[in-house]
């Protein structure tokens, strides 16, 4: 979103990679190689997305929408349209049930991901170039940044992480679900927008995205505890989405105004 692009295929890729992981475990493969295969599947889809958008200039909406349908379709074919659960070795759930230093392993993954991406954001050229491309793609290109390579690299990273998320999902469910993770991509976009990343690119932070995701999750959890039906939660999520976009644009406009005023002064 920082460079003005987006990926609508993440939910389907998570589901697809989860099915691949579950099938590999079921066929007797060890956890680590099966996990690597699932991540590679995600990376390959990222490569296709990146090639379509960065190399052939497909609109990101069209390119990733195509991959969303293709990934979902392949997942359904692999799983014969049903959840891969029968005769599943119990080891598949090992990852989700593991703790590290008293913390659930998923929380440790979050901490590692945040540290890596805050580092990328603040200290690496990839983060700075992504920000520059989002600010003004043409200016970034003419100042010598290989915009296509940066966008391609980010699509590949997202694909790999979606593959890893598929491993986590299959481990948590102890199954591969080809119909799961519907709407995941919109939860991702909602978290990013709530975190302050501008829809038109060029702004935002990783920590904001973390809190954006937490807000959505806490709302769902709290409403569950109050026994409020999922249908109402969905409506509330939609309302928050609209409010987030309005607030986001307002805050960004204020920041832009101040920047212009400061530049003039």
């Amino acid at each position: 979103m920082m460079t003005g692009n987006y990926d609508l295929s993440t939910g389907s890729v998570v589901s697809f990679a989860g099915c691949v992981y579950a099938l590999m475990i079921k066929s007797g493969m060890a956890l680590l190689p099966a996990g690597i295969v699932a991540v590679v599947v995600g990376i390959l889809i990222g490569v296709i997305n990146g090639t379509m958008v960065a190399k052939f200039n497909f609109p990101p909406f069209i390119a990733t929408l195509c991959m969303m349908y293709i990934s979902r379709g392949v997942a359904l074919i692999l799983a014969n349209g049903a959840t891969i659960r029968d005769n599943m070795p119990p080891e598949i759930g090992n990852l989700a049930s593991r703790d590290f230093l008293g913390l659930p392993i998923f929380v440790v993954f979050i901490i590692i991901a945040l540290l890596i991406f805050v580092f990328i954001e603040k200290k690496t050229l990839l983060g700075k170039y992504a920000l520059a491309i989002g600010g003004n793609k043409n200016a970034a290109f003419f100042s010598g940044i290989n915009t296509a390579a940066i966008i391609f690299a980010i699509y590949v990273i997202i694909g790999g992480l979606a593959g890893f998320a598929g491993v986590m999902s299959a481990s948590r469910l102890s199954a591969g679900d080809p119909r799961g993770m519907v709407g995941f991509e919109f939860d991702v976009i909602l978290a990013i927008i709530l975190g302050g990343t501008s829809l038109s690119g060029g702004k935002g932070s990783v920590i904001g995205t973390f809190f954006g995701a937490l807000v959505v999750a806490c709302l769902g959890n709290g409403l569950d505890m109050l026994n409020i039906l999922t249908f109402w939660q969905s409506i509330l999520k939609g309302i928050i989405f609209v409010l987030a976009i309005v607030l986001n644009e307002k805050v960004m406009k204020n920041i832009s105004k101040k920047t212009v005023a400061a530049a003039r002064a």
Partner: protein, 57 residues
């Protein structure tokens, strides 16, 4: 102070705290427990990990 108030992170953190206070009052002690927060984080882990990368796009 005005600059902090217009910072997107400040706004989202305030919103997060507000939601927590609301649910602590309405949903009771079961919401404000470490286990519950770990459960929420476990549920959101996949979204956070993918979103952290997707925001660079």
């Amino acid at each position: 102070m005005n600059r902090i108030r217009k910072n997107p992170i400040f706004i989202i953190v305030s919103f997060f705290l507000l939601i927590n206070v609301f649910f602590i009052i309405t949903a009771g002690d079961s919401f404000f427990q470490l286990d519950n927060y770990f459960y929420v984080l476990k549920q959101t882990a996949m979204i956070i990990i993918v979103a952290s990368a997707a925001r660079f796009l």
